[in-house]
C-alpha cells in the first residue's frame, strides 16, 4: 500500500484551520507525514473533518513539559499509510481539553488514561474516572514532578485498599439475594476460571440477558511507561518482552524498528530474515494459545492440550536461539542477541508439514462441529463502523471486513518481498474472527517457508551503536498477533526516553466489547471475550 499523504487534507488544515505550528516530517524516520499544533478549541472540528475523510484515531496521549502539557493525537487511514499528528497545549494546573469521545469512541479510554496519568480534564467526557489506577488513587504518576512513592508504601496502600474494599462492599450490595430485583449486577472476574488474566467485567443483567457490561481495568498495571522514562534504552528491552508475553517477538520488533528508524540504521539482511521467521513462529504460537483457551471457554477442554503441545514444539525451536520460552528479549538495536543455531532450520522444516496436518485435524474436530457452530455463529457482531470508531486493529478488524495489516500498510523489514495473503471476512462475528486467525496461521507458515529458503549468511549485528536516540518525536507500528502495536517516543537526546507511549492493540479491541455484548447471554459474553483475544498486561501496561 503506498504511503499517500492526503494533499487536500494538508491544504484544508493550512487554509481553514491555520495551525499555530505546522511541520512536514520525514515519514521514514518519524513515522508521520506532518504534525500541526492548533488551539484547544479547534481540535473537535478537526477531528470531525478527519472522520469525514475516512481517518480513525490511532492514539491519544499527553507529554509533560515545563510550561504546559502537550496532548498529542495521531490519526491514520485504514487503506494507506497517511499517519499525521495534531497537537494541542493545555495549562499545567487544572488543564482542560475538549473531549473527542463523541466523535471517536476510542477516545473514551485514551482520555481516561491521560486524565489519571497527568491530571488533564477532558470537558464533556461521560465517565472521567480512573482507568488503570485504583479508584481512590489521587496521584498522577506520569508527571515529571512525581518522583515515585516511598519504600514500604506498597504495603500501606494495599492495606488501605483492602479496608476500602470491605467498606464499599458492605455499603453497595444488599445482604441477601432475596432483596435483589430482576435487574442485578454480576462481576465476571477479576479472578477468572477462563484464563484471560485479571480482567473484571461488571455485567448488568436481567435474568440471563446482558443489558450492558463495563470492563474495569488496572488489575495488572505494572507501570511500564514510567519505568521506561527512568532507565536507559537498552534496559527497556525486558519491558517489551513482558507487555504481551504471548506474542513478545513482535513487540521486540516494534521497539527495534522504532529505534533503528530514529537512529537511521538498517540491520544486516540476515537479521531481517531471522526476525521475520521468529516473529511468524511466535504469531503461530500466540494463535495456538488463543485457540486452546477460546475453546476451553466454550467448554471443549481437550483442544487446549493439543494446542499447547503444538505450541511446545515452537517454543523448543525458539528456545534454541533465545534461551527463553515466553518473554522474549531477543532483538537488539541493529541486530540480534544470538544467531540461529545450525539445528534450527531443519527443526523448523520438520515442524511445518506436521503442523499443517494438525491444522487440518483441528478444522475437522472443531470447525464442522454442530455445537461449536451454534455457539459462535452470529454472536458478538462488530460492525465495520464500530470497529473503526473504537480503533480496533488486527484479526478483529479483518473479520469485520477491513483489510488493515501493518505488514501491508506500512511495510517493514522483508515483508514486501514475501508472498502472503491477508485473510479478511465480512461477518464480524465470533466465527469470522476464528476463521481469520486459523487462516493467519497458514499464512505464517507460508512466510516462514519462503524466508527460510531465501535467508542469507552474514553478520547479525551492526556493532556498537550510540547509546542515545537523536532528539525528536517518532512513531512506529508493527503487526502483532493481536493487532497494530504502535510506539510513540519523545526523545530529548539523552540516554533515557523522555516519554514513551505504548499504543497496544488489545486496549482498543477490548473497548469495543461494550458494544458487542448487550443482548447476549452470560455464556455468550465469555465466548465473545475469548474471540477478541486480549492479553491483560498489554492493556494495563
Amino acid at each position: 500500500m503506498p504511503a499517500v499523504a492526503d494533499p487536500s487534507l494538508k491544504q484544508w488544515l493550512l487554509e481553514t484551520v491555520q495551525p499555530d505550528e505546522f511541520v512536514e516530517k520525514d515519514l521514514k524516520i518519524s513515522g508521520i507525514h506532518f504534525e500541526a499544533l492548533v488551539g484547544a478549541d479547534k481540535i473537535a472540528g478537526i477531528a470531525r473533518e478527519f472522520l469525514k475523510r475516512g481517518y480513525y484515531l490511532e492514539s491519544l496521549t499527553a507529554v509533560d513539559f515545563l510550561e504546559c502539557f502537550e496532548v498529542v493525537y495521531h490519526f491514520d487511514r485504514q487503506d494507506s499509510n497517511a499517519r499525521c499528528c495534531v497537537k494541542i497545549l493545555t495549562a499545567k494546573d487544572s488543564g482542560h481539553a475538549p473531549t473527542l469521545s463523541g466523535i471517536y469512541r476510542s477516545a473514551l479510554w485514551f482520555e481516561r488514561e491521560a486524565h489519571e496519568m497527568f491530571g488533564i480534564v477532558f470537558d464533556g467526557h461521560p465517565n472521567l474516572k480512573n482507568l488503570l489506577l485504583p479508584e481512590s488513587s489521587l496521584i498522577h504518576p506520569l508527571l515529571k514532578s512525581f518522583k515515585g512513592e516511598a519504600k514500604g508504601s506498597d504495603v500501606v496502600q494495599s492495606l488501605q485498599l483492602i479496608d476500602e474494599d470491605k467498606r464499599d462492599f458492605e455499603l453497595a450490595y444488599p445482604k441477601s439475594i432475596s432483596q435483589q430485583g430482576k435487574d442485578y449486577y454480576l462481576n465476571l472476574g477479576p479472578q477468572h476460571p477462563s484464563t484471560h488474566g485479571v480482567l473484571r467485567i461488571l455485567l448488568h443483567l436481567n435474568g440471563e440477558r446482558v443489558l450492558d457490561g463495563e470492563p474495569i481495568l488496572g488489575y495488572s498495571h505494572r507501570h511500564h511507561e514510567k519505568m521506561m522514562e527512568i532507565q536507559n534504552y537498552l534496559a527497556c528491552w525486558p519491558n517489551f518482552g513482558r507487555l504481551d508475553y504471548v506474542g513478545a517477538m513482535s513487540y521486540n520488533f516494534g521497539y527495534a524498528r522504532l529505534i533503528e528508524r530514529a537512529m537511521g540504521v538498517t540491520p544486516p539482511p540476515r537479521v531481517e530474515y531471522i526476525r521475520v521467521i521468529a516473529t511468524e513462529l511466535n504469531r503461530i504460537s500466540s494463535h495456538l494459545l488463543w485457540l486452546g483457551t477460546f475453546l476451553m471457554d466454550l467448554g471443549a477442554m481437550t483442544p487446549f492440550f493439543y494446542c499447547f503441545d503444538e505450541r511446545e514444539k515452537i517454543l523448543d525451536i525458539l528456545e534454541m536461539a533465545t534461551g527463553e520460552r515466553l518473554t522474549y528479549d531477543y532483538f537488539r538495536f541493529g541486530g540480534l542477541d544470538h544467531d540461529f543455531t545450525p539445528d534450527m532450520a531443519p527443526a523448523i522444516k520438520r515442524f511445518i508439514p506436521e503442523f499443517k496436518m494438525h491444522l487440518r485435524e483441528y478444522h475437522q474436530l472443531i470447525t464442522k462441529n454442530v455445537i461449536f457452530m451454534k455457539r459462535v455463529h452470529g454472536m458478538g457482531v462488530l460492525s465495520r463502523e464500530n470497529a473503526l470508531a473504537y480503533g480496533v486493529t488486527g484479526p478483529c478488524l479483518r473479520a469485520s471486513g477491513v483489510a488493515l495489516d501493518e505488514r501491508r500498510r506500512d511495510p517493514y523489514s522483508i515483508y514486501p518481498q514475501l508472498d502472503f495473503d491477508i485473510p479478511v471476512r465480512a461477518d464480524g462475528d465470533v466465527f469470522a474472527r476464528y476463521q481469520v486467525r486459523m487462516q493467519e496461521m497458514e499464512e505464517s507458515l507460508k512466510i516462514i517457508t519462503q524466508a527460510l529458503e531465501k535467508m542469507p549468511e552474514g553478520p547479525i549485528t551492526l556493532g556498537k551503536l550510540p547509546k542515545n536516540v537523536p532528539k525528536g518525536e517518532y512513531y512506529s507500528a508493527v503487526e502483532s498477533p493481536r493487532g497494530s502495536f504502535g510506539i510513540y517516543l519523545v526523545s530529548d537526546g539523552s540516554l533515557n526516553p523522555y516519554r514513551i507511549k505504548l499504543r497496544t492493540p488489545s486496549f482498543s479491541n477490548l473497548n469495543s466489547l461494550i458494544d458487542m455484548i448487550p443482548g447476549c447471554f452470560v455464556s455468550d459474553v465469555v465466548a465473545v471475550l475469548g474471540s477478541i483475544d486480549i492479553v491483560l498486561p498489554e492493556i494495563d501496561r
Binding site: K175, L295, M296, F305, Y306, R375
Partner: protein
C-alpha cells in the same frame, strides 16, 4: 415377629452393601474419568499415588473429609446443609430395583423404574436449594439453569422408556430383563424404535446428570463453579458422589432396559450388567472431553423442539408396530 426382625436385618445389610458399593464405585469412576481424560489429552493422568494412580481418589476423599467446614454467613443454614443430602440420597433408591441376575434383586416392585425416576427428581430440588441458599449470584444462576434443564429433560427420559414398557408389558425391571432373553430391546423393538429410544434416553440422562455437553449449570469457565460454588469439604464431596452415582445409575438403567441387563453367555449375570454399564459410562466420559457445551437456551430448544417430538413419535410408532405384530401373529 422374628420374620420382621430378620427382614429388618436384611434391609440394613442391603443398605450397607449399597453404600459400600457406591463408595468404591465412585472412587473407581473418578479415577477412570481422570485417566481417560488424560489419555484423550495426550498425558498420563494420576500416576504416582498408588499403582497407576488408583489410590488418587482415596487421597482426595480423605483430604475432603479433613477440610474446614465453612459456610457463608448470610446463607440459610438449614437449606444450605440439607442440599447436598437432597442431591445425593434419592439416587440410592435406584439400587432397589436393579436386577443383578435371575431373581437377584433387592425388591421386585411392580412399578419398577418409575419409582426410581420419581424419586430421582428430588435431586433437582436439592440443586435448586443449594444454589438459592448459598446467597451467591453465581450459585443462583447455576441452579436456575439446572432447574430448567432438569425439568425439561425429565419428559423425554420418560417417553423414551415407554416403548420398552409397551414391548415388555410391565414396569417391573426383572420382567423387562426376562423379556429380553431372545435379544436386546435395542435391536428387537420393531423398525429401529429401540435405537431411537436408546438415543433419546442417552441424551436425556446426560442432561439429567448435568454432564457435558449439557453441563451449563456447573459451567466452569463462566460461573466460577455453578450451584456448588459455596460448598467445601465433605459437602462438596457429596455433590461429586451424587453426580457420579447418577451417571452410574442412568447407565445401569439404560443397560437394563435396552441392553439386556444380566443376559449374556459364559460369565455370570452380574458381571455382564457391570460390563455393559461401564461401557456406557465410558462413552459418557468420552463425550465430555470431546464436545463444547451448549448454551442454556440451546439446551432447552433441544429438549422441547427435538427430543420431545421424537419421543412422542417413538412412542406412537412402537405402539403401532407392536399392535400390528400382535395382529399378524
Amino acid at each position: 415377629m422374628t420374620a420382621i426382625f430378620f427382614e429388618a436385618i436384611k434391609i440394613f445389610l442391603y443398605c450397607i452393601a449399597v453404600i459400600l458399593f457406591i463408595s468404591v464405585n465412585t472412587l473407581f469412576l473418578v479415577w477412570m474419568e481422570r485417566k481417560l481424560a488424560g489419555r484423550i489429552q495426550m498425558r498420563p493422568g494420576p500416576l504416582y499415588v498408588g499403582p497407576m494412580g488408583l489410590l488418587q481418589t482415596v487421597a482426595d476423599a480423605i483430604k475432603l473429609l479433613s477440610k474446614e467446614l465453612v459456610y457463608p454467613s448470610e446463607a440459610n443454614k438449614f437449606l444450605y446443609l440439607s442440599a447436598p443430602v437432597l442431591v445425593f440420597a434419592p439416587i440410592l433408591s435406584a439400587f432397589l430395583i436393579l436386577p443383578l441376575g435371575e431373581g437377584r434383586i433387592i425388591r421386585d416392585l411392580n412399578i419398577g423404574f418409575l419409582l426410581v425416576f420419581a424419586l430421582a427428581n428430588i435431586t433437582f430440588i436439592g440443586i435448586f436449594v443449594a444454589g438459592w441458599s448459598s446467597n451467591n449470584k453465581y450459585a443462583l444462576l447455576g441452579s436456575m439453569r439446572a432447574v430448567a434443564q432438569n425439568i425439561s429433560y425429565e419428559i423425554p427420559l420418560m417417553l423414551s422408556t415407554m416403548g420398552v414398557v409397551l414391548a415388555a408389558g410391565t414396569l417391573s425391571t426383572t420382567q423387562i430383563v426376562s423379556a429380553q432373553d431372545k435379544g436386546w430391546f435395542l435391536f428387537t423393538l420393531p423398525m429401529g424404535t429401540g435405537l431411537l429410544g436408546f438415543m433419546i434416553f442417552f441424551c436425556s440422562s446426560l442432561a439429567e446428570a448435568n454432564r457435558a455437553p449439557f453441563d451449563i449449570p456447573e459451567a466452569e469457565s463462566e460461573l466460577v463453579a455453578g450451584f456448588h460454588t459455596e460448598y467445601s469439604g465433605i459437602r462438596f464431596a457429596l455433590f461429586f458422589l451424587g453426580e457420579y452415582t447418577a451417571i452410574f445409575v442412568s447407565s445401569a438403567i439404560a443397560s437394563t432396559l435396552f441392553l439386556g441387563g444380566w443376559h449374556g453367555p459364559w460369565i455370570p449375570g452380574p458381571f455382564w450388567l457391570i460390563l455393559k454399564t461401564y461401557a456406557i459410562v465410558m462413552v459418557v466420559m468420552w463425550i465430555r472431553w470431546t464436545f463444547p457445551r451448549l448454551r442454556s437456551d440451546q439446551l432447552m430448544n433441544f429438549a422441547w423442539k427435538v427430543l420431545i417430538p421424537f419421543g412422542i413419535l417413538n412412542l406412537l410408532l412402537t405402539a403401532i408396530f407392536i399392535y400390528f405384530e400382535d395382529l399378524l401373529r
